[in-house]
Symmetry: C2
Subunit: 204 residues, 2 copies
DNA sequence: GTCTATACCATGATAGAC
DNA sequence: GTCTATCATGGTATAGAC
């Protein structure tokens, strides 16, 4: 029992440390992006030495991959947590709002849209791709349902809708509006969600 | 007269070379972004040695700035080239289409939305900021006119509309859709323009 | 056994010699 | 104009402290 208990404690400590590292990575990724983020900074933010970090994660890439995978899991979990009776389009709205709020809190790294070194490596990562596909599947179902109900434009191919929604989560307009300093976080989120669904024209 | 003529020819040659350098920079910027772009690559693409490039441009930053300034000039020129009788909203649509087409041709660097080293430096560049302000002014006028005509949502603050439109020019959905390989350049452009103005709901 | 300090190596921006 | 050096940065590997 002593051994088991100690092992567990040690593993818990490990987990706590790794969580701290991943958290620091997420924040730095969100702030600077993959290429500009340095492992030194992450280590400093996490309060450990760079070499110690390499005991937990084998490379900068694997660090970033772990963060992205965790975020995708959270996104999927968020979708599942929504009440089933909620309209598909409102689930989509909810996901976008969730992502934007996360980002405005400085916590969501832009998905690897920008041609970074990450992109190619992530696409070679089975665990990452698995989750991407899982999320895509759920989203496509939501889109088709919403189109069938006539609340989303049926003239748009479902993947165009899904990709556009993903794109909105990393919309640079967030930064522009934040920089202008004229709007609260909530306002930014609401405007962007509105623009995403109703467009610049609005509902006429 | 000999000297003058030769000077002119030399200057022309210089200009040709600098244009080649700027063109190479634009392409590399579009492909890899500022941070991942190396001056070596630009020099190689332009067909000269790296050190020679530094005879023309004092730094990597000044290279990028020159490209961005030129692009902003082109954007403003594009707006001015549109027939005055064209509806404001159609001018906006035209600008977005122009930018997306340029990007799909591999020619438009994502504006410095991503927190890159560039961003801060560009904002310190008078020539750049001057053009940004000039473009903003024209765009705000168009937005207000379109809102007055009721073809753009009057409930949206004009700057939200302008920033959203800028954001669409660097919409990562472009890359996603291109990667999927299901759509032609033209289709991508049309879908994105449609989504930008009518939203995912479409006009109902 | 896990962290710290330091060493190593490639890359990439810039400067100077021809 | 090119070629070659310099210098800083940053990812990674090792060696020793607790």
């Amino acid at each position: 029992m002593g051994i088991l208990a100690r092992l567990t404690v040690r593993q818990q400590q490990q987990k706590v440390r790794e969580d701290a590292i991943l958290d620091a990575t997420r924040v730095m990724l969100a702030k600077k992006g993959y290429d500009l983020m340095t492992v030194d900074e992450v280590a400093a933010e996490a309060g450990i030495a760079k070499a110690s970090l390499y005991k937990h994660f084998s490379s900068k890439e694997s660090l970033a991959a772990a963060v992205m995978i965790h975020l995708l899991d959270q996104a999927i979990a968020f979708l599942e947590s929504l009440p089933p009776e909620l309209a598909p389009v409102d689930k989509m709205r909810g996901l976008l709002r969730w992502a934007l709020d996360l980002r405005l809190d400085g916590g969501l790294p832009l998905l690897p849209s920008t041609s970074s070194t990450l992109q190619s490596n992530l696409l070679a990562n089975r665990d990452y791709v698995k989750r991407i596909l899982a999320l895509n599947e759920r989203m496509l179902d939501l889109v088709k349902a919403a189109q069938a109900q006539g609340v989303l434009d049926p003239g748009l191919p479902p993947d165009v809708v899904v990709f556009s929604l993903y794109a909105r989560t990393c919309d640079p307009a967030v930064e522009y509006l934040q920089m202008s300093g004229r709007y609260t976080h909530q306002q930014v989120t609401e405007y962007l969600v509105k623009v995403a669904f109703a467009g610049l024209q609005g509902t006429r």
